[in-house]
Amino acid sequence: MLKKVMSIVKTDLLSSKIFVLMFFLMFGLGFGFLYGLIVRFTQVSELLYSYWLQGAAFLLGGLFSLMFPFSFLLTDKRIKAGEMILTSGIRPFEYIFSKWINGVFLGIVTAYTYLIVYTLLTLPLYEQYGNISVWLYVLLIAIIFASLGVTLGIIFTKVNLLRKILLIIFLFVLPILSFVLLFIISNTGIFLKFLIPILLVYSLLCFFLSVRNVEIKDFVA
């Protein structure tokens, strides 16, 4: 089973390598470098700057985790590859799981790469690497967003327009509120300590609820 799942993961990565690279460079330059430089040359403390970079890396990792599984599911449905793959004997859950793994993988790789690149810009961030929580948060954020990405993909492939709108609103209410809260309280530490576990439980719940009743027909155009 794992071999089949990993072959789908590999296929998705190979088939999207150009997009991954394009988004990686685009967002990396946009967020981390250009916007990062603006922050750098304003009057902020080194610590706040390091938090900003860390947050940007987490956000970009999360974005990759969200975007790619969702896009893989929709592309497979559009080109009927999902129909061919699912009638080769792989179960719908295993198929979705492969997309989830992909999201987590891409999120982790993206976030860590950005962290490493940004570390070169500021020393306090480098010091934070000694702290295990940075590594853990990257993993958790990737899991959260990959779960939300897969859920979003299933919503898009499965339900009608009205339910789609309602479900998407419902799905993103909590994460958006969390980010609003983050900006209000302006304390990344609290956000990471409390909200990440809450979002993790929430996203995994969404993931398992959406995966529970998936059928092959949901991935057939």
Binding site: K3, K4, S7, I8, K10, T11, L14, S15, S16, K17, I18, R78, I79, K80, A81, E83, M84, I85, T87, S88, G89, I90, R91, E215, I216, K217, V220
Partner: protein, 310 residues
Amino acid sequence: MNKHIDAINVDFTYDNKKLVLNNVSLSTYQGESVGLVGPNGAGKTTLVRVLLGILYPKNGNIQVFGYNPLNKKEREKIYGQMGYLPEGADVYPQLTLKQYIELFKTLHEVEDNSTIEELLDMFDLQDVFEKRLGTFSKGMKQKAKLLTILIHSPKLLIMDEPTDGLDIASKEETIEYMRKLKKKGTSMLIATHDPYLVENLCDRIIMINKGEIIFEGTTQQLQEVAQNEPCYVIELMEKVKKEKLEEILNNIGEPQKIIVEENTIKIWTDDENIAKNVYKKVVDEGLIVKNFDRYLPTFSQAYKNFLEGK
């Protein structure tokens, strides 16, 4: 012979209002190829998806290899033994053919490369093995997809428009390969609009229209049924002047219609003896007859006639 697909009284609806499939029953047997034909929107693709357990029927019983495709656990046993080509499926443009094959090789748990090599040779894809699928023509993509459903030598092939985009030579090679598979016991259900494929591969056809099976039999049976009036054709070895033939054919019986062309005479009549009289008279006049037989329309004509008559 073993039944591979057995569907009994299948009804299907998308919206609980109109039946897309109405009381459809069909069977396919080991080593048999069945063509599923019918106009656009007749319900062919829906039927294929219902038989695969992708769509759930409203009523009816379906068994594939004796397993129920609607049961998730039993479905896995079916999928392991079959190959399915959906209509209009596309390939991942960024993948090379090698990577694309690798995916399905792993999914179908194929260890041996001999079938893959044979298929690559047959489809003439050896030279593009390392090339990206995005650079392939429509026909080459179709070959690549066909290849992936054949790599595990399936016992059952369900294909929706398998020859879409293939040139004549590729079609012939594909048909030849399918015939070999049939001899080995593979059964096939082929939803198609391609008369060449039907005439050259299908042992039997099932014609479906508005969700109902309207004909089931061989292509020849369809050609016989679809001919409104019986017609006989006398084919001559050499060209003869039309006027001469018309003179010969004066004063014979009363066929509904005789059409005389340079070296053929078509006789529409219910009475076979009248056709035989014409044949005798032509032979008596010293003309050499190449062929005298019941005239049947081509499969395409028969298909059209039959649908128009319904």
